[in-house]
């Protein structure tokens, strides 16, 4: 499987080239286009896994795309304008924000790693973890910048895409100000990383973008 990342950093598309009978598993809704010989199957991976994914904030179902009778191509995108990266899984395992996960080779297992409460300051965000060997495709809101942690690093949690699973971290408020000032000032939670490893950050915060634009939209009747 070969993945070309096109149109970085803002209109990024992952162009996946599959060998005959090779497949890739992707988030529902991520497919933009594909060659005519690619077959798509929707799976829930068994009811328990599906349910766990639902509570993990992931969509219930994933799609598996397989090239039949020849090489095939699948184009994958993210819901918001942004960047994408292809990461190797095996020697290094990753923890990923669920909104960043796009696709993985079928030999990589991606599971909910725990709730995002107390980690992300937005609703509906969870942490996923990888197991196995292969590749994953992650997407971001904003450009992706890989940062090497060599000791310590403080990052606003809304800007996290994914990080090396062997980094240690604690989550807290950003400043020494009281809770009122924190609320009024718009700062969210920050993640204090320690150790050695890579962290992928995105240069925009999707939750902030959502509330900036969302509050100007017509209200929902409840």
């Amino acid at each position: 499987m070969q993945v070309n990342v096109l149109y970085r950093p803002s209109q990024t598309v992952a162009q996946v080239w599959l060998q005959p009978n090779e497949s890739i598993m992707a988030e529902s809704g991520a497919m933009m286009g594909m060659s005519t010989n690619v077959d798509m199957q929707t799976q829930s991976g068994g009811l328990m896994k599906g349910l766990k994914r639902l509570f993990g904030g992931e969509s219930f179902f994933r799609n598996t795309f397989m090239a039949q009778g020849g090489q095939g191509e699948v184009l994958l995108t993210t819901p918001l304008c942004g960047d994408m990266a292809v990461l190797d899984v095996g020697q290094r395992q990753w923890q990923i924000s669920n909104s960043a996960f796009i696709a993985s080779s079928t030999t990589v297992d991606v599971q909910t790693q725990g709730s995002g409460k107390g980690f992300f300051s937005g609703a509906g965000l969870f942490i996923l973890g990888t197991q196995g060997q292969g590749q994953i495709v992650v997407g971001s809101f904003g450009a992706i910048e890989p940062v090497n942690v060599n000791g310590e690093l403080i990052i606003d949690t809304g800007h996290l895409v994914c990080w090396d699973a062997n980094l240690q971290y604690t989550v807290g408020k950003s400043s020494n100000a009281g809770w009122i000032a924190s609320y009024l000032s718009g700062e969210g939670l920050v993640c204090h990383f320690q150790g050695q490893g890579q962290v992928y950050i995105q240069t925009r915060n999707a939750q902030e973008y959502g509330s900036t634009v969302g509050r100007m939209l017509p209200p929902v009747q409840k």
Binding site: P9, G142, A143, I155, S174, S182, G186, T203, N205, M216
Partner: protein, 231 residues
């Protein structure tokens, strides 16, 4: 002047600043992406430099009003440290970041455009006139003057137009302009059908000589476009 660099122009621009010991960077609340662990961050009201009691009170009331009604909060973060350190700042929307060195001149900006400042920069709110109250973008402009560095952000890419006479800019597309220009907020024109049908929001007519910074996207237009798609 702190060392600085803007990366990922023009779309997901992020400002990286390296502060020397004792240097202070003031940034829009909520804009921090990451920082060195030895840098301190304080939350303060953006009341301008050396505000009196009433200056602070006015700023507090505007801040609370805006938090409830929506719009820029007027809280800012002060980053500083005894050993200096680096900090990364990014705005909420996609777009560019432009560095403007102020050497005593005055410029006006739409309130959403302020990202960060350093040095002796004074920021004041200026009322845009009664018609401006109708504007989706809000009734105020931010007036910046003094000596120091200012970073502004745009929604979209930034273009510079030199006005020599008169020029009309859609209100939602204004980033900033030289204070040497006179400005007047107006309805867009287009004849009798124009006001209802043209789809244009309020426009700002500039007169005189000076620079106008425009942005190629408009939050109000995005919201209208999205509203048609929403359930």
């Amino acid at each position: 002047m702190p060392q600085h660099m803007v990366k990922y122009e023009p779309t997901f621009s992020m400002l990286e600043v390296n502060l020397a010991p004792g240097e202070v960077l003031i940034a829009e609340a909520g804009s921090m992406v990451a920082r060195a662990s030895n840098l301190e961050m304080d939350v303060k009201l953006n009341a301008g430099r050396n505000p009196g009691f009433f200056g602070k009170l006015k700023a507090m009331m505007i801040a609370l009003l805006r938090k409830v009604v929506g719009g820029e909060t007027f809280f800012v973060n002060h980053f500083h440290g005894g050993q200096g350190g680096w900090v990364w700042i990014a705005p909420a929307l996609s777009g560019g970041v432009r560095h403007i060195p102020l050497q005593g001149q005055t410029m006006l900006f739409s309130t959403g455009a302020f990202l960060a400042s350093a040095g002796e920069v004074d920021l004041k709110l200026r009322f845009g006139g009664l018609r401006a109250l109708l504007a989706k973008e809000g009734a105020f402009f931010l007036e910046a003057s003094g000596h120091g560095d200012l970073w502004v952000n745009s929604y979209g890419a930034i273009d510079e137009i030199y006005c020599n006479g008169t020029y009309v800019v859609d209100n939602g597309h204004i980033v900033g302009f030289d204070s040497s220009l006179d400005f007047k907020i107006k309805t867009p024109g287009g004849g009798a059908m124009g006001f209802f049908g043209s789809g244009e929001g309020l426009v700002c007519e500039f007169t005189g000589q000076g620079r106008i910074l425009i942005q190629s996207r408009n939050l109000g237009a995005l919201v209208e476009w999205l509203t048609r798609l929403m359930p």
